[in-house]
């Protein structure tokens, strides 16, 4: 059984192809102004790494911010449900999930089957989302992937950033940089701020020891370490944390197909 999950996020589009429950292919690409085109491109990028043909895919489920515009999907499922399902696939013992995306942040609780029992989400404010770190990385002329490692070298102490708002914090960060505060200390302060925001969200749903982080920011070691320190937990992160939602969508696709097969045409 070949199924596909597509997760069209605010910053990236992800595709996962499952063949009999195993991940056969996956891709992560930048989302341009056209969500539908990004979905097609992500699908084609994943398919290009396999010998499968497009018509082999029996069912596709879309999720994410752009889920309703995916032209080739038969169904769409919320990203909350997909992240819980996908995290459960990688780590079946997990009950708390933190998904940190480009433009939002979600804290999700699930049961032993990967079904959502509670969640909290921040999609109103850029503070504490991947977007804030993108903005700051470009302001400080640091590559996004270097933000985490550099922030852990903040040995002179973290720079204190008092503004929550990303727009106001930009002026504050610029002023610190002009005063000669080392970039690594500023990045340390910024990653610490993101971890603080996330901590508040997680406290709202309750954190259990088995804890998964997914989404793009989970690749930022500076944020992950600080979240672990603040919560006193160790996080599970899968081999490609950006595809967790798409894996969940593909699992839903598989379930839809199985249900269809059992109930007949």
């Amino acid at each position: 059984m070949i199924v596909c999950g597509i997760d069209v996020g605010a910053r990236t589009a992800k595709a996962v192809v499952l063949a009999d429950g195993e991940i056969a292919a996956h891709s992560v690409i930048r989302t341009g102004p056209q969500s539908a085109a990004a979905a097609v491109a992500a699908f084609e990028a994943a398919m290009a790494t396999t010998s499968l043909r497009r018509e082999d895919v029996e069912f596709t489920v879309a999720t994410g911010y752009g889920r309703v515009v995916v032209p080739f999907a038969q169904r769409n499922v919320t990203e909350i449900a997909c992240h819980a399902r996908g995290s459960h696939h990688f780590f079946p013992e997990v009950r708390t999930i933190l998904d940190m995306g480009g433009q939002d942040c979600k804290a999700i609780r699930c049961d032993e089957t990967g079904k959502v029992t509670n969640f909290l989400m921040n999609d109103k404010c850029a503070a504490g989302t991947g977007r804030s770190l993108e903005v700051m990385a470009s302001l400080l002329q640091v590559r996004l992937e270097d933000v985490g490692p550099l922030s852990l070298e903040a040995n002179d102490g973290l720079a204190k950033i008092s503004n929550t708002c990303v727009v106001f914090a930009k002026s504050e960060v610029l002023a610190l940089a002009r005063q000669g505060v080392p970039t690594r200390d500023i990045l340390g302060g910024l990653c610490d701020g993101v971890a603080d925001r996330v901590k508040r969200l997680l406290r709202g749903v309750g954190v259990e020891e088995d804890f998964v982080i997914s989404g793009g920011i989970s690749k930022n070691v500076g944020v992950v370490r600080r979240i672990e320190q603040k919560l006193g937990v160790t996080s599970h992160i899968c081999f490609e944390p950006q595809i967790v939602g798409a894996v969940g969508a593909a699992l839903f696709a598989q379930a839809f197909l199985e249900r269809k097969a059992s109930t007949g045409p």
Partner: protein, 261 residues
């Protein structure tokens, strides 16, 4: 009695010199460098322009976010007190004053004599602030001064759904890509701005007469959008950006030892 008020905000400093109840002169400068020094320079330049000696000023009060850095002032008062008093000087019927500055907005209620009775403020979030308008002006390459008039010509304003100014920027980029006209984007921006400004006003209760102060009140598009949203007339002073400094100068006339806030 001659008094002066200095309002030092995030982006600009305004100075007002008052002779009893008449404005002798006023000026507004962009802040560059250290705020205390900028305030002093702005004050000295204003006096030079007016041909007034420092010694002839009886008392100087500072207001604004950096009011405590104005060493030459004899005292300072909060922006809430100053804006309420200044707005009341322009419009004695003022009972609600909404001030929209570069880095935040605040709503004040005052009584018939211009005394502050209640206030609410947002200085934590850039949505609905002047900084957001400046960012948009830069993105669309429109001079700040032209934004309001252009927006009034919009046939089909866009709807911006983001609360956050950072996310709204992405929405605007998407509209630019889609070929949406500058006018329609600007009108959408104004409508988004005023929904946030009105929300702060509603926290204190919006009672007429309503006065809009601060630099953003110069944007006729924002003023019009707020009028439509509140279904109420709004009074805008001739020089909305000097209202805080004017209020500080008015408060400086009161006897020394009057309660500080």
């Amino acid at each position: 009695m001659v008094t002066a008020g200095i309002d030092i905000g995030h982006e600009s400093v305004s100075v007002v010199v008052l002779d009893d109840d008449a404005i002798l002169g006023h000026a507004t400068f962009v802040i560059s460098g250290e705020v205390g020094a900028t305030a002093r320079l702005a004050f000295e330049r204003t006096l030079d322009r007016l041909g007034i000696a420092r010694a002839s000023i009886d008392r100087i009060f500072a207001t604004g976010v950096a009011r405590e850095n104005v060493a030459l002032a004899d005292g300072h008062r909060t922006q809430m007190l100053s804006h309420a008093r200044g707005a009341h000087w322009w419009f004695p019927g003022a009972r609600t004053v909404i001030d929209v500055g570069a880095e935040g907005s605040r709503a004040m209620r005052c009584d018939a004599s211009g005394h502050l009775t209640n206030f609410a403020l947002n200085d934590k979030c850039a949505s609905g602030s002047g900084v957001f308008l400046e960012t948009v002006a830069g993105m669309l390459d429109v001079p700040l001064a032209d934004m309001g008039a252009l927006s009034l010509r919009a046939p089909r304003p866009v709807v911006l759904t983001s609360t956050c100014a950072v996310f709204a920027e992405s929405e605007i980029v998407a509209e630019i890509h889609r070929g949406t006209s500058t006018e329609d984007i600007l009108r959408g921006v104004n409508e988004s701005m005023v929904s946030k400004i009105a929300a702060i006003g509603r926290r204190v209760g919006i009672v007429p007469d309503v006065v809009l102060t601060g630099g953003v009140a110069r944007n006729v598009g924002v003023v019009q959008a707020l009028r439509e949203l509140l279904e109420m007339d709004l009074a805008v002073p001739e020089h909305p950006e000097i209202t805080g400094a004017l209020g500080a100068a008015l408060l400086a006339r009161e006897p020394a030892g009057a309660a500080r806030a």
